[in-house]
């Protein structure tokens, strides 16, 4: 890789902002997005006048025009969008980096806003019973007619296969839910801050799509998160200690398959996600390896999603995610503390944008579950179909 074209350490996340996380925000996604963006600018010590770029998620209802107008941006010179959905956030930061390093923008707001509980609920996002399913590149005609209509059912198939192939125990999935909940119990901003969770509750929980049960599923949240991305030089003059983007990466891996999510079930090994190939690119670009990661925010739409990524990022071998998890590695003081604000499972489901904010807090030293002396902070976004990831370091 040419050093001249490398983005290593050349951009920074200068500010982070979020709304409260709730079941009913009582306001529009546009209001949530604008409030998170203003909070991120204030955190950075910047103003709307500094902003010339925005990047959003393809699932977001708030368009670049809407956010520019709501904030009063004088002239937006760059806007971008990526996804789908939860696979987006790290790639969204990557687009901001690309815009800045190519001279198309100087200061970029990256945001995600959703009324995920009071508005459109993704877990109910199944096809209209009266319309035919599939066609035009959707490929749902190979899945939906069989009742495979939600992400939870999709990930349940991956979990079942992992359990039967590697002997993974349900207790390993429960441990992921418990690690996230423990962090949320220390984070006053988390939706599940005051709600304790025990292994017994996990094991006895209502089955949803076996082997997955209630606490294997993320929350549904109304809320928004935003970050300000700018050059490392500009960030050095901002209000917060700069958190550098050491590396960012996207990857589909081979034979990604068409459609959004279900077609991944056609890949040879459904227990391997595109996180395996994104990890190679990410660590190579960063000049770092998994053993140098101090803390990680691992995308957790479901518990099994975390377990598969732990293997694919190389924190343990394929098939050993269960044993690694059950060793206590994910807890404070463990080999790899994860989701230290509570994650999608217990902080709030802001589609993984909340993971970027917590990754920044760990480098700043301001997490409510701070890993002492954290210097390398990993953030991942959802697999599949492709995925993206981010390594943050101190400026």
């Amino acid at each position: 890789m040419s050093e001249a074209l490398s983005h290593r350490d050349r951009c920074a996340i200068a500010g982070i902002g979020a709304t409260e996380f709730s079941k009913d925000s009582g306001r529009s996604e546009l209001t949530l997005a604008a409030q998170a963006c203003r909070a991120a600018l204030q955190d950075a010590g910047l103003t709307v006048a500094d902003v010339d770029g925005v990047v959003s998620c393809d699932y977001d209802l708030v368009s670049y025009g809407a956010i520019a107008d709501a904030l009063g941006i004088a002239d937006l010179t760059y806007w971008g969008q990526t996804g789908p959905g939860g696979s987006g956030p790290c790639a969204m930061v990557g687009q901001a980096v690309a815009a800045i390093l190519s001279g198309q923008a100087t200061t970029v707001l990256v945001y995600r806003a959703l009324n995920g509980r009071s508005g459109r609920r993704y877990g109910l996002g199944a096809p209209d019973p009266d319309a035919r399913v599939g066609g035009r590149g959707a490929y749902e005609e190979f899945f939906a007619p069989y009742g495979l209509v939600t992400p939870g059912q999709f990930f349940a198939l991956l979990a079942q296969r992992h359990m039967s192939t590697y002997g993974t125990r349900y207790e390993a999935l429960a441990e992921i839910a418990l690690a996230c909940r423990e962090a949320a119990n220390r984070n006053p901003a988390a939706q599940m801050h005051e709600r304790a969770l025990t292994l017994e509750q996990c094991l006895a929980a209502r089955p949803i799509s076996l082997p997955l049960r209630l606490f294997d599923f993320c929350l549904e949240t109304d809320g928004a998160c935003a970050v300000v991305v700018t050059s490392a030089e500009r960030a050095a003059d901002c209000a917060q200690p700069p958190v550098l983007v050491r590396a960012v990466a996207q990857s589909t891996g081979p034979r990604v398959q068409p459609g959004v999510m279900y077609p991944m079930l056609m890949r040879p090994d459904i227990t391997v996600t595109p996180s395996q190939t994104v990890a190679r690119t990410l660590f190579s670009r960063a000049g770092l390896g998994p053993s140098e990661v101090d803390v990680a925010q691992i995308y957790d739409c479901f518990t099994i999603t975390v377990l598969l990524q732990l293997e694919d990022y190389g924190f343990c071998a394929k098939g050993e995610g269960g044993a690694f998890t059950e060793s206590g590695a994910l807890r404070p003081g463990g080999a790899l503390p994860i989701n230290t604000a509570g994650g999608n499972l217990s902080e709030g489901y802001v589609h993984g944008m909340n993971h970027v904010l917590e990754g920044v807090r760990q480098i700043r030293g301001t997490s409510t579950s701070q890993v002492t002396g954290a210097e390398v902070s990993l953030v991942t976004s959802a697999p599949p179909p492709g995925t993206s990831a981010l390594l943050l370091v101190r400026g």
Binding site: R132, Y139, E141, F142, V149, P211
Partner: protein, 140 residues
């Protein structure tokens, strides 16, 4: 190879049948055939189906009948109902086809007792209007 039809009062969700890339799968199902798409120029299996070939770059492809037998790859029993057309419990199954490197999906009633590698065979669920979806049942 012609398979067994199972006439049903209603298919919970009907597939689009006239898509350029995938329509042949459902046209074959109406004939009681399980068919996959192959490149006419280099023979590459193109599954999920699309006309163009990633292996040779060709744009001529054809539907070929394949054996309607497979083995269970993975499954989930759905117990929480989210879609009105699919009363719970039911079991979604992934099936690896015999003799060819392709996977398809099926649906079994209730909490099916399954094992990885268990043999299954194709069955064609046919709605009153003729729309047909290949499905799978455990070998007797």
């Amino acid at each position: 190879m012609s398979g067994m039809f199972n006439d049903v009062a209603v298919l919970p969700l009907m597939p689009v049948e006239d898509d350029h890339d995938t329509g042949g799968f459902f046209a074959a199902a109406r004939r009681g055939e399980l068919a996959l798409r192959f490149c006419s120029e280099c023979g590459q299996l193109l599954h999920l189906p699309r006309q163009v070939c990633f292996a040779c770059g060709g744009a001529r492809s054809e539907w070929r009948a394949v054996p309607g037998r497979g083995r269970v790859h993975a499954w989930t029993t759905v117990t929480h109902q989210v879609h009105p057309a699919f009363p719970t419990p039911y079991t979604v199954v992934l099936v690896d086809l015999e003799e060819i490197d392709a996977r398809l999906v099926g649906s079994l009633p209730g909490e099916a007792e399954l094992e990885v590698g268990q043999p299954v065979r194709v069955r064609f669920d046919r709605a009153p209007d003729g729309t047909t979806v290949p499905n799978w049942e455990v070998e007797a």
